[in-house]
């Protein structure tokens, strides 16, 4: 009688399975001999595009994905080349990256931090992605950036506007092309002063999460510096859909400006509610009541329809920039042309930032002559470039934030179509929105050292 039913054949099977299991981690980091995570093998290189493909930001994610596809096509020498033709750096030759054909995998962030981390992890471990890009939320960007730092791959952030992404949560392997809350506020303040004067009382509604807080802090500091007074700031739940109970008391509060620190669905609903309550038709303190939306998303503003008419806000980029403000914004028309020809409509600012990020990564690899994240970090740090649609731009070494002009826009009174909802008021020059690396609103975190992984 035996206490074990282990047979010789069973033992061999178990050993084989255990051996395979133990070998798996080595397989997953097969490139460990190259000294960094997922060093491209053969004649291809894989990029991972992590965008919201489901959930409320799915349309923005779809536009990001279109831009990524276009960028890959251009990198591989297809299409009309888009902004490769206008980009100031000429290291890319349309033969992939360092001669390796670019292929990509996609993940669905669902605009949830845990789901976004899981999909990024899967693209890094299973698909061998050497760079992760995309996203439409700061919570997601911070989470995925942290993961990429640990895994030893580069993170080229998509749409993320919280100060924290390149502030207290900055990481050496992470880079942000998109602007941030501080820049929005710094760009908006002088325009608001010109439009509405220097004696205004502000009531603000703020989405109760990281981006909302930094946006509110930034806009309050900037507007108070020019003489405006903030009389109340109300935090609203991120999950709120009807803002009527927050909007209703505004008119009787003595405020004559309402600042909506909301994005996406929150912005569409709060702005729609504010217009329903007739705020824009009222006079308070002898002045016309005004509404400000610090971060505009033209794509999402479609949901608010005509309600955005006359509302001032800021954008990272607009497809009409080069036509309206001239050749400083060269690259814009080239991108609009290739995107518009391929998809039939103009690109959103989310698409532009994702396209630019992909090109910037590829160019950094080409200049560095290596996919090693530490070499890429070195190539991107302090990199000055032009021709990607935003005018002269600096990727600052101290925090991996891009510094470029910020576009101040206003909702059009009579838009011609759903892609033409805003008009450009002005572009605030980069030097007016630049801040120190150790600015209090960005303090708290350390960039640390680049991590090549493996």
């Amino acid at each position: 009688m035996s206490f074990s039913n282990l047979t010789r054949r069973g033992l061999i099977k178990t050993s084989a399975a255990a051996g395979a299991g133990l070998a798996l981690p080595t397989y997953l980091s097969a490139a460990s001999h190259a000294g960094f995570t997922n060093a491209p093998q053969g004649d291809t290189v894989t990029l991972g595009f992590n965008v919201p493909q489901s959930g409320p930001y799915a349309d923005e994610g779809a536009d990001e994905l279109r831009a990524f596809e276009l960028a890959v096509e251009h990198l591989n020498g297809g299409g009309d080349g888009g902004m490769l033709n206008t980009f100031s750096s000429k290291a890319l030759e349309g033969n992939g990256i360092l001669g390796k054909k670019v292929q990509y995998v996609t993940g669905d962030t669902q605009t949830k931090s845990d789901a976004a981390r899981a999909s990024a992890q899967s693209m890094i471990q299973k698909d061998g992605a050497v760079m992760i890009s995309g996203g439409s939320s700061s919570g997601v960007a911070v989470a995925v950036q942290g993961l990429c730092q640990e895994a030893g791959v580069i993170f080229m952030a998509g749409l993320t506007h919280s100060n924290d992404t390149t502030g207290k949560d900055k990481k050496a392997n992470g880079f942000r092309h998109f602007f941030n809350a501080y820049m929005s506020a710094a760009a908006l303040a002088p325009v608001l002063k010109n439009l509405y004067g220097d004696d205004r009382k502000v009531y603000s509604l703020t989405a109760d999460y990281t981006w909302g807080w930094t946006q509110q802090e930034s806009i309050q500091a900037a507007t108070e510096a020019m003489g405006w007074e903030t009389i109340n700031d109300v935090r609203t739940p991120l999950a709120a859909t009807d803002f009527s109970s927050y909007i209703a008391p505004v008119l009787n509060s003595g405020a004559d400006v309402l600042v909506l620190n909301h994005y996406g669905g929150n912005m569409v609903n709060s702005l729609t509610n504010a217009v329903q309550f007739g705020l824009r038709d009222k006079q308070v303190n002898g002045k016309n009541f005004e509404i400000v939306v610090p971060l505009y998303s033209e794509l999402m503003a479609r949901g608010a329809g005509k309600n955005i008419a006359g509302i001032v806000g800021s954008q990272n980029w607009d497809w009409k920039l080069e036509d309206q403000l001239g050749s400083r914004y060269t690259g814009t028309n080239a991108f609009v042309q290739s995107f518009g020809t391929k998809y039939g409509f103009p690109p959103s600012q989310a698409a532009q930032t994702c396209y630019a990020q992909t090109l910037l990564y590829a160019d950094a690899v080409a200049r560095a002559g290596s996919f090693n994240p530490c070499a890429v970090v070195e190539a991107l740090e302090g990199f000055e470039f032009d021709g990607l649609g935003n005018g002269p731009t600096l990727y600052r070494a101290g925090d991996h934030q891009c510094f470029k002009d910020v576009v101040v826009v206003k909702g059009k009174e009579n838009p011609e179509n759903e892609y033409d909802l805003v008009e450009i008021v002005e572009a605030t020059p980069a030097e007016k929105v630049t801040y120190d690396v150790d600015h209090p609103m960005f303090a708290g975190g350390e960039l640390g050292n680049c991590n090549p992984g493996a």
């Binding site: 109340n232 009807d242 109970s245 008391p249 009787n252 729609t272 309550f277 009222k282 949901g303 608010a304």
Partner: protein, 343 residues
């Protein structure tokens, strides 16, 4: 004082949406004994009936001659609306402007049909199954329905405006002797409140004063006995499912101008509506309406700054706090009957 009146008004308005959805939920639960998690999706489909009609009215063809160039520099052709061609410029413009109220006529048959199909096609197979199975299948159905809507309409909210005549707001404060701008309220939200009151009144009158309603009420009280009397109660309950779907659908249609419809709006209301039903008492129609308004008003008061300053974050949890208190003190809810969901 004016702030309190304003939030009271606001609460009544919020409450009317909750009450309408909860009323439909209770109708289905009371008659068929099914916990219908797809009810929020029905509300959402109602709102998309308004979107659809406005899209139908916006159908157009391109002009034969170009009227300029598009963003790529290619010739641009203007859209010409069919309804303006068929009904004339002014009538076409009027129809487009009034598309939301007109959607009511469009939504009633569509929603009743959807209710029928849902009940006959899927839900009737789950009558004798445990409540957990019903919840799972209807929740799954809700997800399917919202993904279908997302596939056709996208994830972004779609603006659906109220008629021009009802945009803007009404100054109640002046009427009551307050300063101007003290109590203003949007016209369309006032209409929503009146509309809800009308529908709720209509449903109660239907159940109270018609023979059909009497049979349904008898069936709700004792299904078996009504069946023994030779009445086909199942058929009537199916019709009630259709009516409940229509009530939620109409709530959705009229809600479209308040917040731009998106595929997820049903889920946003679903959890709240269940809390409303539980607080009101499972199976009690007056309870659902009462709890809808009560929770709407409490939610509005909880979002007042004066209250939030004392209890930060109370606006996010007030509904659940109230639910806990009610269930602890009155386990059957405000107007719940003995024996419902207790077997």
């Amino acid at each position: 004082m004016d702030a309190i009146l304003l939030q009271l008004l606001n609460g009544l308005d919020k409450g009317s949406a909750y009450a309408l959805i909860a009323l439909g939920l209770t109708l289905i639960f009371g008659t068929l004994g099914v916990v219908n998690f797809a009810h929020g999706a029905i509300f959402m489909i109602g709102a998309f009936c308004a979107v659809t009609l406005s899209k139908i009215f916006s159908l157009s063809h391109l002009a034969s001659e170009p009227s300029g160039t598009d963003f790529l520099g290619k010739p641009k052709y203007e859209d010409i609306l069919y309804i303006k061609e068929w009904f004339g410029e002014s009538a076409g413009a009027w129809m487009l402007d009034w598309s939301v109220p007109l959607s009511i006529l469009f939504a009633i048959p569509v929603m009743i049909a959807i209710g029928f199909i849902m009940e006959r096609g899927l839900i009737k197979h789950f009558y004798k199954r445990p409540h957990a199975d019903q919840i799972l299948v209807t929740f799954g159905l809700a997800i399917v329905l919202q993904e279908v809507i997302k596939y056709f309409y996208g994830a972004n909210p779609i603006p659906t405006a109220a008629p021009e005549a009802f945009r803007g707001s009404f100054d109640f404060g002046v009427l009551l002797g307050f300063d101007p701008n003290a109590i203003i309220y949007p016209y369309w939200r006032l209409i929503y409140f009146a509309f809800s009151a009308l529908i709720i009144g209509g449903v109660f009158a239907f159940l109270q004063f018609t023979t059909f309603g009497m049979v349904v009420r008898a069936g709700m009280a004792d299904r078996e006995t009504v069946g023994l009397l030779g009445i086909n109660i199942d058929k009537r309950f199916t019709i009630m499912f259709g009516i409940a779907a229509a009530v939620a659908g109409l709530a959705g249609v009229m809600y479209a101008p308040i917040n731009s419809p998106n595929y997820h709006m049903g889920m946003d209301f679903l959890v709240l509506s269940f809390v409303v039903v539980v607080v009101g008492g499972m199976g009690s129609l007056p309870g659902a309406v009462l709890a809808g308004f009560l929770l709407g008003i409490l939610e509005s008061f909880a979002s007042m700054n004066e209250v939030k300053n004392i209890l930060p974050g109370i606006d996010q949890i007030i509904i659940y706090v109230v639910a806990i208190i009610i269930l602890l003190t009155r386990p059957r809810g405000l107007m719940g009957r003995k024996g419902v969901m207790e077997e």
